[in-house]
């Protein structure tokens, strides 16, 4: 029988200049799911240069206590600054788990923070399972083809959670949690964040698209991109986009990249051509209405997420579909 764990579960608030990101509320659900008994405290920690307001907002909405640390060094996210500050705060809290978003900043500081806390670090967690050997954390491996359950062996464990895997914490109508303001002195670090710059404006055509035909690494050759464009031409309102490898190769412009650091789309129809289904891309399209996937690898992870699964070489299949569509329309092929 699992004895009740007195050490708290700490959630690190993910925010954009005080604007709380939705993944923070998913982290709170995650924490509640890890908790071994009601007596185990869940609390939130937020770092920023002006965080009283967001801290109050979370405390009110969820009823959990929040430690809010302000310092001018927190204005821009920086790994060395965050590791220093969180190490100090966690040393005081002695948490059983530190729950962090698997975002560009969370994944940047979590492993190094774990080293400072002598903790195991398990990243890109998608699920939890209690076993007789303890709580195990599920994560994807091998491009999403398999899942691995990992068990921490340390007193403290640092976890990063994939966004979109947990429902957001339900709003509490109980008493607001206590907000404690913390002053942290951050000495100069070996790294300094200078600025944040926008390099890509969102492509509105993509955001509003009713249908998307998407190209992945399985396209193979730039010449095959014409098949993707021709297929999109046959489908009303369809827009062409792609996963990161296709954009890296210059076969599509950056503003057509769908995935973690690209755009998120949710069209009624999503046709994935040669896309493996790894989380980095899938996170940008998983809420699409109807997903059709074409891939010659029968074990591609994308097939777990598709409504229609087609195991075919897209070089022969796409022309066959285009031909079928044109015959149906009675349009002579030009």
């Amino acid at each position: 029988m699992m004895k009740c764990e007195p050490h708290p579960i700490v959630v690190i608030v993910e925010h954009d200049n005080g604007k709380i990101r939705p993944v923070t509320y998913e982290l709170l659900t995650f924490a509640a799911n890890i908790r071994q008994c009601p007596a185990q405290r869940i609390m939130a920690v937020i770092l920023g240069d002006s965080v009283e307001q967001p801290a109050e907002k979370i405390a009110q909405a969820t009823g959990i206590p929040v430690w809010a640390a302000s310092a001018k060094e927190f204005k821009f996210y920086n790994a060395e600054v965050y590791k220093h500050a969180l190490h100090l705060l966690m040393a005081a809290l002695q948490p059983a788990y530190v729950c962090i978003a698997n975002s560009s900043c969370g994944s940047d500081f979590a492993p190094g923070l774990a080293v400072r806390l002598q903790a195991a670090c398990i990243t890109q967690v998608q699920g939890i399972r209690s076993t007789s050997d303890g709580v195990c954390f599920t994560r994807a491996i091998l491009g999403g083809k398999l899942h691995l359950e990992v068990r921490p062996l340390t007193k403290t464990t640092v976890l990063t959670l994939q966004p979109g895997m947990m429902p957001p914490a339900v709003e509490s109508d109980g008493l607001p949690g206590e907000v404690v303001l913390k002053k942290i002195h951050v000495p100069p670090q070996s790294s300094k964040t200078l600025a944040i710059n926008a390099v890509r404006s969102d492509d509105l055509a993509l955001a509003d698209a009713k249908a998307v035909v998407s190209a992945g690494r399985g396209i193979g050759d730039e010449t095959n991109m014409s098949l993707v464009h021709q297929l999109a031409d046959c489908i009303p309102h369809a827009v062409v986009c792609g996963s990161r490898p296709v954009v890296d190769l210059g076969w599509l412009p950056y503003n057509r990249q769908v995935g973690v650091t690209g755009s998120t789309v949710s069209p009624a129809l999503y046709v994935a051509c040669g896309i493996s289904g790894a989380e980095q891309h899938v996170s940008g399209m998983r809420t699409s209405g109807f997903i059709v996937s074409i891939n010659k690898d029968p074990t591609a992870a994308i097939f777990h997420l598709s409504d229609v699964c087609i195991v075919e070489d897209l070089k022969t299949f796409i022309p066959a579909v285009i031909s079928a569509i044109k015959s149906q329309k009675g349009t002579p092929e030009s």
């Binding site: 560009s104 994944s107 940047d108 076993t131 062996l153 670090q189 200078l194 890296d248 579909v321």
Partner: protein, 256 residues
Amino acid sequence: MKILVCVKQVPVPEAIYEIDPGARWVTPGSGVEYQMNRYDECAVEEAVRIKEAFPETVIDVLSIGPSRADAVIRRAMGMGADDGIHIMTRTAEFHDPFTIAYWIAAMARRNTYDLIFTGIMSEDMMQGQIGPLTAELLSIPCATAVVSAALHKNNVHVEREIEGGYRESVELKLPALLTIQSGIHTPRYPSLSNLLRANKQPVHTIEARTLAHPGDRQAAHQVKRPQNIRNGIFLEGTTEVKADQLLKILMERSFL
């Protein structure tokens, strides 16, 4: 300037895996092909570009894996890395990322590197940990998801790719560790002359079991097939039959 690039040999994306029910770990079958982790190729490319800009630069390439991992060390040397280090593990078992980073840090301390590069993550374990863990163990600053790096005398200016179409500009004092995101430059093919030289050159090989082991912080519990998030239908028949079926489905749903 001395650079260490860490590379990993991974199964090709199309590899197929069988797992025994209740198995703790999975090993690819004997027919599986391997290649260099795509992001590590990008890391080697960035190091070689620095060497082209600063010809006195020396690049060491390190890989941890069974004997077949020698192939990716040779490939990195074919791309332009100077010397290879192979930490030989006996089997392709689950390794705690902390242990891998611990071994890399132990090797890094035998030299004085100005820069250490890794890929942003491996395509097989998909953790994104080795770079940040290694940096912490060496007490050097780290930046992940780097899409550009400009060297100055005592520091490096990088741009990190973050969400929403933004980039973060960060200045790190040297020595520093960077994890490289794809898309900056297309990794070059190894050149014949470099490959010939690489194949003649001994790679410094160390058995992992001779290195101090820090003690595991996590263990593999069980490998499983993912559950279906949607229960899709697999179309059957010839290419033409499937194309007609797809047409029918799209028309039924008024997409055409």
